[in-house]
Symmetry: C2
Subunit: 160 residues, 2 copies
DNA sequence: TTTGAACTGTTCCAAAGTGAACAGTTATTT
DNA sequence: AAATAACTGTTCACTTTGGAACAGTTCAAA
């Protein structure tokens, strides 16, 4: 069973290679978040909301995959800091609309420009990669993500 | 400045693509850890130690990038659970040698075999990728990791 | 040898994260 | 209409995390 052993080694290698990148991403994100008085979940929430300016808390939860309780408290902090505006959705008093304030927008903009931010770092990463490398990377990641998520729902169903 | 804007979009895309994979990895790792009565740091520690069977706590810290305090407490739990053996390095009473016990080895082996483990999942991922895709992925990840780490030390020096 | 600096690991505590129970709202069934 | 189930978000209690102070060890210089 040499090939099987080979596969185990390769899968560990793949895992480590993701892990090494992630380690660096988290280091940068964490540093940026703390420097701006945010927690990591709060920073994630802002980054998701800035994409659409306006989302329900439910949608934010789906995008960030944060637990409801974490999300609720993180949003609370952001509202108290004046970075987010929170109001009930009209026509559905269950859901809550989250809007980024001007203060929130300018904070995020400042963060993105700043030398050590994750976006800034990743822009320099981009400069290093060829167009083909970039595309291959994103494509393969998508393939892996889809596979892992399919596997999850599959097993979720089977276990019942 | 169209290209600059392009770059910002691409860097966000790259970040999201890593994030999506990582989300799934963490979901699987966390599930596996909990099912086996471990915390995520503890699971990480075991995975690192199994590679060499025998390491100082210092080295484990360097590999896993866990804070010293987290590492210390996680190891303590593993020792109490009988999965790890801990003894002072002879000739250097500062460092501590960590050895995986038979119980630890068999637990990890059982985990790796198990359907939902991260290693198992990643083996099925491997089957999906071509050899070239795999190699390109690992290579690009390494390139990115090196770049980000170089950037970190660079900035660390400059800021002084 | 003594002093002081650097190293390795532990302890403590404040902060952050999260599952579970909950409250209120909406949709569906009887 | 009433009852029930599903949904959305909050609260609370508990666990985990990680920075800072610490204790003991080693090394180098005086």
């Amino acid at each position: 069973m040499e090939t099987e052993n080979q596969n185990l080694i390769r899968s560990a290698q793949l895992l480590r290679s993701f892990w090494n990148v992630q380690k660096n991403i988290m280091r940068i994100v964490q540093k940026t978040a703390i420097e701006n008085g945010l927690t990591v979940p709060q920073y994630s929430i802002l980054m998701v909301i800035i994409l659409h300016e306006d989302m329900t808390q439910k949608i934010v939860g789906e995008k960030t995959f944060l637990p409801k309780s974490t999300l609720s408290q993180a949003v609370d902090g952001l509202v108290r800091a004046g970075l987010l505006h929170r109001e009930p959705v009209e026509g559905n008093r269950r859901e809550i609309q989250l809007t980024i304030t001007e203060k929130g927008k300018s904070l995020l903009k400042a963060i993105h420009m700043h030398e050590g931010s994750i976006h800034h770092s990743f822009q320099t990463v981009l400069e290093m990669l060829t167009k083909e490398q970039f595309q291959a990377l994103v494509d393969t990641h998508l393939q892996i993500t889809n596979h892992l998520e399919a596997q999850a729902t599959e097993q979720g169903e089977c276990s019942e």
